[in-house]
């Protein structure tokens, strides 16, 4: 870097700092009684100044090559771990993660289990939405509606008919699928931005129906008295009989959602590498060209929408069974946006990416509970940074010719 460029950089930095102060002063300096002080704004500004100055100096040293003595061993380490990752087959990773997930409730407390259940629910949602967004390339902003349909289906079946969770699961999936078809049929003729707006509208319609259909859903009061999932265990006290046990404890619920999440991962993986998955990707890449190649684009888009809805519905049914209470508040637009962020952050179309993205977006806010006030700020900053440095997501989807290798494993 030449001398002139340094000058330019420092100048831009100085202008940025002055501008930041101009913004901070009225934001932090105005008091309730209308007076203006400089104290609090100045301290915050000093912190920012100190932090950024250190980063900038480090960056400049790095540009000059003065940090090579740290950089080189780090690069070597990264290379070595990368080779290790390549040498180690995928199943080693999968088994390790699975074993970790299985022993997790044994070694952790209630709070951690609660967070873990949340993560798993959102993994199901993220993977379901991934079919619609990552594979078929349709921006769906109302995805949470299907989560709501699934949750209310189980809630109503449980309250009015006493249907067990396991029997209600396929029913919830079926109803979400129907909802997906009803919403998808008129909307999927649209493309891109228009589709996003329409799905956003439909998502809100579902929430508003839940909120206002007092006789069925009891509106904003929500539905109480939903039964938790139960299992029958054989008992041998007098002959062979079965005892019904309700899964109220968190660790047991954790295993239920873990099973659901594993089922979702396997299904999405199989779909991803099937003939249908490839057709979805072709539609995402160029809809007209896909049509010219004999792909019935409308039916396949509807199928993608319905499949996504099914996984949303399954997660919803579990959500109702776990909370034993549902209300429309749980299905607002911000939830759709959260799931969408997880998919985008993790990497569209990549299953490990979405799992990691979900983990990051659920666990990090818990870790930063201390700085409650600034959580959304940190969230926004993290998303912005991600879009700049890793626009394809934490673990981008890679499938260059990979699919054709795995011909045998694909069912479609």
């Amino acid at each position: 870097m030449r001398e002139g460029e340094y000058k330019k950089l420092w100048k831009a930095y100085a202008i940025g700092l002055v501008w930041l102060f101009c913004l901070l002063w009225p934001l932090l300096g105005i008091h309730e009684d209308g007076t203006l002080s400089i104290q609090s704004a100045f301290t915050v500004w000093l912190y920012v100044f100190g932090g950024t100055a250190v980063i900038l100096v480090l960056y400049l040293l790095h540009k000059r090559g003065a940090l090579a003595w740290i950089g080189r061993p780090v690069a070597r380490l990264r290379d070595r771990t990368a080779t290790a990752g390549r040498v180690m087959p995928g199943w080693v990773w999968i088994t390790a993660v699975l074993i970790g997930a299985l022993v997790f409730p044994q070694v952790t407390n209630r709070y951690a289990q609660d967070v873990a259940i949340n993560v798993l629910v959102y993994i199901c949602l993220g993977l379901g939405l991934n079919i619609v967004i990552g594979l078929a390339g349709m921006l769906d902003l109302g995805y949470i509606a299907f989560y709501g349909v699934g949750a209310y289906t189980y809630a109503l079946l449980s309250i009015h008919f006493g249907l067990s969770f396991w029997l209600a699961l396929p029913v919830a999936a079926f109803f979400s699928c129907i909802a997906g078809c009803i919403i998808g049929y008129p909307t999927l003729r649209m493309r891109g931005d228009y589709l996003a707006i329409v799905t956003l509208g439909f998502g809100e319609i579902v929430r508003i129906i839940l909120n206002n259909w007092m006789t069925l859903t009891q509106g904003p009061n929500g539905l109480l008295g939903i039964k938790p999932p139960g299992i029958y265990l054989p008992a041998f006290s007098d002959g062979l009989s079965f005892v019904h046990i309700a899964l109220r404890k968190l660790p047991l619920l954790y295993y239920v959602i873990l099973a659901l999440a594993v089922l979702t991962v396997i299904s999405v993986h199989r779909l991803n590498y099937s003939r249908i998955g490839r057709a979805w990707e072709a539609i995402r890449e160029d809809e007209t060209a896909a049509e010219l190649m004999g792909v019935n684009t409308f039916m396949l888009k509807l199928l993608a929408y319905a499949m996504g809805a099914i996984f949303g519905g399954l997660a919803g049914a579990f959500f109702a069974a776990r909370m034993r209470f549902v209300s429309p508040e749980s299905f607002t637009f911000i939830e759709s946006a959260m799931v969408l962020s997880m998919v985008v952050l993790g990497g569209m179309g990549s299953i490990p990416g979405i799992i990691l993205g979900t983990l990051a977006l659920i666990v990090l806010p818990e870790v930063f509970r201390e700085i409650e006030l600034y959580r959304m700020l940190a969230f926004g900053a993290a998303m912005t940074a991600m879009m700049i440095f890793r626009p394809k997501g934490l673990i981008p989807a890679k499938r260059v010719g990979g699919r054709s290798e795995e011909k045998g494993g694909a069912g479609g």
Partner: protein
């Protein structure tokens, strides 16, 4: 040859984009085994004609007959299984899918795995450059290779009638020559009938047997390709003399 029933026949076909009439009664015939080309200036309706045949643009009047059967009401996805496939303008390959996945998409409706594999080898023999790049993403190929991929993708559907829209678009002269040699080869060896749309009238008319000249949505001239090449009016308007 003229006495036989044509493979593809358009009778007074018209279509429109919104209120703008793009085709104003196009009639043309393509016989089995032929290479027919359509030439014309920008906006003459060449691409629209192909898209109307494939059902992407709605046919608003007239009839399109394929093998004697009307196809203007058929959904686009049903046509490749009937042996009618298109290499669209601007190639339109799937950029983030691998080369092999792109080819597989051409055979989407087919279930005969062994035959598909054989056809893929056939495409690789026609275009050895694609075999070398089979693991790459389609979008990373050069323009000429992408055109090869687009043609290969269409061949994977085993077309009897192949519609080709501007195969020379944006290619270096050497590549254009090569692509047209391949077109000739597909026609000679596989017996595939080809309806070709081109701006590069010179090479298109040299390859084709018959030609149609389009002007603002109408066919203004129809003749043997050689006769069109010799026609002074055509030479002046389309061959730059």
């Amino acid at each position: 040859m003229r006495t036989r029933e044509p493979m593809l026949e358009l009778r007074e076909v018209s279509s429109a984009y919104g209120r703008i009439q793009a085709l104003k009664g196009i009639s043309l015939q393509v016989h089995a085994g032929e290479i027919v080309c359509m030439i014309g200036a920008n906006g003459a309706g060449k691409t629209t004609t192909l898209m109307t045949i494939c059902g992407i643009v709605k046919c608003q009047g007239g009839e399109i007959l394929y093998d004697g059967r009307p196809i203007h009401g058929t959904v686009p996805a049903k046509l490749p299984p009937m042996g009618l496939c298109q290499v669209p303008e601007g190639r339109r390959i799937f950029p983030r899918l691998g080369v092999e996945d792109n080819l597989e998409m051409g055979a989407f409706f087919r279930k005969d795995r062994n035959q598909i594999q054989r056809d893929m080898d056939h495409v690789y023999t026609l275009f050895p450059a694609l075999r070398e790049r089979r693991r790459q993403r389609g979008g990373t190929l050069s323009g000429g290779e992408q055109q090869m991929l687009a043609i290969g993708r269409a061949l994977m559907s085993r077309p009897r009638l192949l519609l080709m829209d501007e195969p020379s678009l944006g290619l270096a002269p050497l590549f254009v020559q090569k692509i047209f040699e391949i077109i000739q080869e597909i026609n000679d060896k596989d017996g595939t009938t080809i309806l070709l749309v081109e701006q590069n009238a010179n090479i298109a008319l040299q390859t084709a047997e018959r030609g149609y000249v389009l002007e603002t949505g109408r066919i203004v001239m129809e003749d043997r390709a050689q006769a069109l090449l010799d026609n002074p009016k055509i030479r002046q308007a389309y061959l730059g003399e």
